[in-house]
Every structure is written in structure tokens, then in C-alpha cells.
Symmetry: C2
Subunit: 516 residues, 2 copies
Amino acid sequence: MITQASTSVARDRIAAAYSPDLIGRLAHQLADQLKSHFQMVMRSNGNVLNWNVPAVNLACAHQHLEQEQIEADPTHPDFAEQVGQRFASLVQTILDRSHNLHDPRYIGHQVPASSPLAALFDAVGSATNQVMAIYEMGPWASAVERSVVEAVGEQIGLTRGEFAGLITHGGSLANLTGLLTARNVRLAQSWESGVARPGRPPVLVVHADAHYGITRSAGILGIGTQQVIRAPLDERRRMEPRQLDQLLTDLRNASTPVVAVAACACATPIGAFDPLPDIVEVCRKHDVWLHVDAAHGGAAAFSDRYRHLVAGLADADSFICDAHKMMFVPALCAFVFYRNPSHRFEAFRQDAPYLFDPTTPGDTADFDSGLTTIECTKRAAAYGLWGLWSLFGRQLFADLVDTTFDLGRRFAEILHEAHDFECLYEPQCNIVVFRYIPDELRNSPPQQVGEFNRRIRRRLIESGEFYIVQTNINGIGALRITIINPLTTEDHLRGLLDAIRQTARDISSSRPPLAD
Amino acid sequence: MITQASTSVARDRIAAAYSPDLIGRLAHQLADQLKSHFQMVMRSNGNVLNWNVPAVNLACAHQHLEQEQIEADPTHPDFAEQVGQRFASLVQTILDRSHNLHDPRYIGHQVPASSPLAALFDAVGSATNQVMAIYEMGPWASAVERSVVEAVGEQIGLTRGEFAGLITHGGSLANLTGLLTARNVRLAQSWESGVARPGRPPVLVVHADAHYGITRSAGILGIGTQQVIRAPLDERRRMEPRQLDQLLTDLRNASTPVVAVAACACATPIGAFDPLPDIVEVCRKHDVWLHVDAAHGGAAAFSDRYRHLVAGLADADSFICDAHKMMFVPALCAFVFYRNPSHRFEAFRQDAPYLFDPTTPGDTADFDSGLTTIECTKRAAAYGLWGLWSLFGRQLFADLVDTTFDLGRRFAEILHEAHDFECLYEPQCNIVVFRYIPDELRNSPPQQVGEFNRRIRRRLIESGEFYIVQTNINGIGALRITIINPLTTEDHLRGLLDAIRQTARDISSSRPPLAD
């Protein structure tokens, strides 16, 4: 059959996909489905993680793509009914197979149980497809982004009008953008001529526990991952300023160019916050660009109790903060900040006459996001944050930080009280790393304890009872939680310890751990 | 006042931000607001672009952030009512200040009037904050992404099981990912050791009209923007295979390493589709990596009538396709495809023990998106596409391509019939470039005609009557439209010509154009 857009069937199908009545009908259905879903999930009436192996989920996803077209003619009244039924079924499939971050037993990665209300604002942007690149394409989206950049930057200690910032799609891109800026500023002409140059190859100095997004930036930017130097840490896994000072002295003596020092607030493995005021001082002494990955911890600036953790952050040359972490909005909404506002134009330079119009009035070009972000077409990623903030005020973000950071400390106390658990580090925020060490493993090699903990976690998360993660500390496996659902309570954490003990018993009874 | 998370006020505020009842209530409100909005916009009852200068929009955005907290106690029944009122007002503010892409008089950038139904699926992902990085974090999101990667790849001519693909946040990132892969494969050790190497510096050969995202990839990846060579075009602005052959011969004779050839399907300025089968042959002859930016045109593969435009695309080493362009889903959802599936692991390499768990069963690691995409935490960007496809079937995408591409050709005929307009190139798709040349400017210098067209456009878009864009063709300003709203008809396009004429008269009567 030859398809013709001019056929009435094609026109009718398009009309259905753009029908305001159908949009309204399905959106009301969705409202009810979401309400029921959150009622169930927030009460833990189901699994946290709905685990299926990839092949099973993939087959299901394909099956829906390949199902028969709806029988009724798009102009027939039955059509809306049939679309409504299929929509409900598709939404239910998504919900039934999802990872339920809003279950208080979700205590996993640094991805929050976001406020679902924030998602409703995102939905407005998505339904109307508001985007940026140039101001005239998304004037309101551009203004909303600028307003939260200014508000968050000020909260962190910058002065409005004297700094610049932007939003991009995730912490990895945010770190890449900051480090690209550092490279372009510190290795003159590297944007135009490439990073190859006479003399010693340039290096990137990073927190030894820096996120892989930081270290692989060196690979992307043409510096080379082997040119990454890991700065030594103290006993709480924080960058050690005196050793950094020595390292930078050695590099200078060797005439090795330093693209940047990348510090953390906090580093992912155990949530360690670097002593930023001291790091700032060392970097200034050596005239080295300081970039700080505050993806997780930047929001501590909202809390009177925890603001001290990010003292000095505003003195970095560049830093990032993910609103889709500790500001509890849906992914992705990551900030990059520059202390010197002119640096925002150093990351990228391009000529696109069909985009950037010389007749643009006044200061409009200053709002053209395409000049400062890696994205050309960029979605209105700030709507969720702007909406949540406008609904509840900034105090909500302080409450969320306080609640989850407080509970991290409480969990450490609970671990200390338990004779069969080991808390590896005093938590500095809502990330806690620990191991279960039952009596029979007390004298076992550490590697074996680590492996046993990994097996417990695998079994536990696939059961759907709790979702926690794992890491390596000095090469040995450990359990790790991030309290990033504000509905999680001390009772849930006590329940986690019991579930770990029970899972360990189940494993041991089916197969002795020592034989592994 | 010292804030304490343990205060009941803080607990109640958090409970409100996570209340299923409030989610349901606000989502129902939103359903009604969206329905009314689309009814108005799709009937053109308002402005296309709601133009305000940045300062005005920014002040409004800040005003909402800074408003007083809601008076009622979160536990009081009045609270939900007050939140509902504020929510309605915030949503209305967004809608009133938006760019109305769903008005059929929006004929602007390569950003579609997306199907609002797709946004409802995105909203499910956003409300429940489904993300990826590792499979276990978002099993269903990972499976949905894989299913549409396979389905779209097959539609373009690849064979399931014999290729790889991924989704990332936008065409610029997709191109960067493909070109990073090319760099890592073709410049051995550039990931680990950096791009500096003995001998002639490497170059990137691009379509002379390539998008700035392609050329600036050379800046980001450490190759250098000066190392970009623009391949000559034919009279329809398509890459010319014989001249490409000569260029690659010259480069080989000069021992200059070539990172990749970047062709277009189509290039942005006038929508030119490169002759891919010939380009593929030339690149294979020279053993050069071929990357194709098919961000806009890749979806032509869904149409029986226009599939020929992307013949040969599946033979490229890497190529991209934006579902948020001609598949009419909301931003951002961009595909990268690799003909050789093992190439997907060449772009990035990282070690993140807290993420990638060695006890992961079976083929699960193959679904860990963090290994192949620039994002670590990645939102479930494929939900909208998967949902729309599952609702209406793949025929919808064919209909959308046919409708808009057909109308592009029809617009060229209308321009040819009008004595006072010039169609600069026969359109190859839904992008058309033209100029208004009234009798009094027939003998004026081209630069003056170009400037007058720019002034017309600026005035026209700020009036809210139509939204079109502008470009430079050989240095001279021109008008440019993309028919990327399927509700746009021939009547709207005739109305555009009248509006341009009227705007020109308004300009001329207020200030003679020749005096500019």
C-alpha cells in the first residue's frame, strides 16, 4: 500500500495525535493513575525495584511497539475510548516495571525520590515543547533558567551580577563544561589549534575518589586519561591541602602545565567534603584553576545546619551542582557556575548565522543559551525546580537537606550500636558506607567479607525489599546507602539491617559462604 | 531562626511536597489547563511567540521565586486549596509567556510542535524519576531505550543484533559522541594519552554547511577548530563526492590523519541531503570513518515517499537521528547508531566500582547505559517516543514526514508563483529558504535586500503573528522556514506571504528601507 499523507486516514491519525480533547482525557486518566501509584509506593505496598532480567523487559517493550493499530477510525467516537484504554495499559506497564524511588525503602544511588509536583511543571514544558538555544526560541524558558541560576548561585555565596551560570543535562556534562572552560583558558589556543603543544603534556589533578565523569573528561577533551593525577586524601577521604600544595609545587618545578584541580563537595564513594577554603588558598598560591564537583553537596548551602560543608565553594573558578540530586527535582537539571562571568563564553565558540541574528535587540544575545552550553536545542530543564521553589519557597530545600543528612548521622549511630555491622567512615552527609560482618566471618579475609556483602546486596535488591548500592573501599566490597528519599525514617533503616541479616541467613543456609 | 528538620513544620512541608492527594489534585488541574491551552493555540487564538525582552521575563520569574510562603499550615485543609491556586497561577504564567509551537503559524526552527500525548509518557518517567546509568537502576527505562534503538535502527536499514545505538540529550551531544568514537578508533591511544602525537596534526572533514555542533566538536575533542576542513558542495549545497575524493587523496599524500568525514542528511541551512551512497564509497576507498548528521532527516526512513533521501545512511560508521525533530516528540531524545556494535564501547571508558557491580548477572552489563553515553544519570528520554509509537504505530511517523515534506515542496511552488518572492533552492524536505524582494528593491544591492528581510522577520516574530527564522546564504540574509507543525496548511503559508508584505509596508511607511 502506498501511504499518502493526503489520505484522510493519515490526516485523521495526525489530528488524533494533536487532539486537545484527547490530551485532556488522557491527562485526567494519568492524574488518577499517578495518584494511586504514589499511594501504593509511598506506603511500601509492593516492591522497591521491580526486577526483571533485560531480555524479559526488552521483549515486553518490543511487544507494545509492534502491537496492532487501533481498530476504530480516528474520527469515530470509539477511537478515543480505545486510545484511552491502550494509554492506561501502557502507563500501567511503565509503572509496574519501574524502579520505585518513592518507596521509603529506596536508599540507593544519588538519584532522589523527587517531588512529583516538580514533574508537573516539567510536564508543562514537555507538552508545549519549550526549548532554548537562542532567547527568541524560548524566552520564558531562558528567563526561568536565568532566575534559578541567580537564586541558587546567590544561595551558595556568589553575588548577583558578578557571576555566571547555566543549566545542562547532568553532572557529567556540567563537569565536562567546567573543565573544558578551564582547558580553553589555561591552555591558550587549545580550542582553535588543539591540545598538542611543545613541552610537557598538560595534566588534570583530581580528588583521588573523583567521579568517573571527571576523570573521563580528560579523555574527551584530548588531554588523555593517563594525564590525570590523583591528589592524596586524608583519613576521611578528603583532599589533603598540604599534599596538594607539594604536588603543585612538583608540577611547576617540572614545567608541567596544570589544566585544573578538581575537588569534590562531596566525592561519591563515601560522601567526603573537601576542605575548600584551604584548597582555594593552595590553588590561588599556584595560580591554578579550581573546579569543584558539588553535584551532590552544593544544596547544603540551603541549610543553616550544613552550610559549613560548602564554605569556600563560591571561591572556586568553576563548580557544579545538580538540582536533580539534593534539590529533589527529576533528572536532569545540573548547574555550572563561573566566579568570573566572562568565562561562560570560553567553553564554546561557534558561528551559526541561521541561529544568531545580528538584528537581535539589546542584551538578548546574553540570554542565548547555545553560546554557553553544549546543547543547541535544550529543553526547559529548570521548570521543575522553578515551580517547586515558587510553590513552597526555598525553605523546602533546607528541610530536605536537614532531614536526609540528619538521618545519615543517625544511621551511623545505629550501625555502631549493632555488633554485627561495621560503619566504615563517620558520615559527612547522607551517604553511609558499611559492611555486615556476622560472627562467623569475623576472622575471614577482608576480600571474603566484601564478596559476601555483594552477594547479600544482589539478592536483597532483586527481592524488591530494599534498594541499596555497593562500592569498593580500598579494593574491598562494601554496602553503601544514600538517604535521598525524605520519607525514609529510622525505622526503615533498622528494617534494612534486619533484612540484611535475614538475607545473609538465607544465603548461608542454601550454600555456606565460606565455600564461595 | 534555627531550622530543624525535626520540627513539625518542616516534616509537614515535606509531606505536602510528596502528598499523593495533592499530586492527583494538581495533575487534574493541569489536565484542564493543558486542554484549554491547546484548544486556543491550535486555533491560533493568540500570539505564536509571546515576546518580552529578557529583563521583563526575568523579573517575573524572580517575583514568583521570591513570593511569600503559603499562609495555611500544611496540615490544614485550606493548604491544598491554596497550593492549588498558586499552582494554577504558576502554570498559567508559564503558558502565557511561552512560545506556542502548536500554533500552525509556528514555522520556525527544527524543533517540532511535538505530539502532546508523547509528553504524557515523559511525565510518567519524570514523576517517578526513572533514570539509567546501570541497568538495575532503571531496568524498564533501559529496556524501553533499547527497544526504540532497535526499532528505529532497523527502519533506517540496519539489521537487529548487528548494530548498536544509544540515546543522548540532543543532536550536539549525539554528534560529539559519534565523533569522539571516531577519534578514539582512528587516533589510537588518544583517549589514554591525549591527541598530541608526532607528525601532521589530524583533521576533521565536514560538510561545508555542517551544524556548529559538528565543527565545535573539533574544539571540544582537542583536535582544534582550525583543523576542520570544509568539503566542497554542489549547486544544491550537497557534499560533492568527486571533490571529497580529491580532498582525501590530497590529505593522504600529505600524511595528514583524518579523524572522520562528517556528512549531512540534511544540513541545516537549506535542508540539503548529501548523496550518501557515493560518499560511503569514497570514504571506504580511503578507509576513512564516515559519520552522518541525520538529526533532521533520519526519520525520512519511515516514509515510502522520502526514504530515498537517506539511502546509504545505514552504511555509515556512525550516524545520529533526533527523535525530537522529525519524529515529533518533545526535546530531548537523540539517537547515535554504530554500524559495528563493538564501537559503542570506544567512546568512553571508566572505572566506577560503586556503580558497575561484578556480581551483575548475565548480559545485564550490556544494558548499562553509563558505559556508552556521556551522561551518568540519564533520564528515561525514550518514554515519549515509545509511548507515541505504541499508541499509534510507526505509520504515524510516516504520515508526519509525508505531510511536512510535501508541504515544503508546495510552498516552493507558491513562492515561484509570487512575483515578489524568491525561492533560493528547490526544497529537498520541509526546510525552505527564500527572500521577499518587492519591486522597489529589485535593483538594490543583495546586502540591502538581506537586511530588509531580517528587519521584516524581527518585526513579524515580535508581533506574534508568525514565527519564522533567518539565515545567511553566501553571506546574504534570507528568510527560512521549517514546516514542523503538522497542523500548518497551505493557507497558513499563503497567509505568511501576505503578512510579510504587510510588515514590509509597515516598515517602509514608518522609515524608508533604502535609507537604512
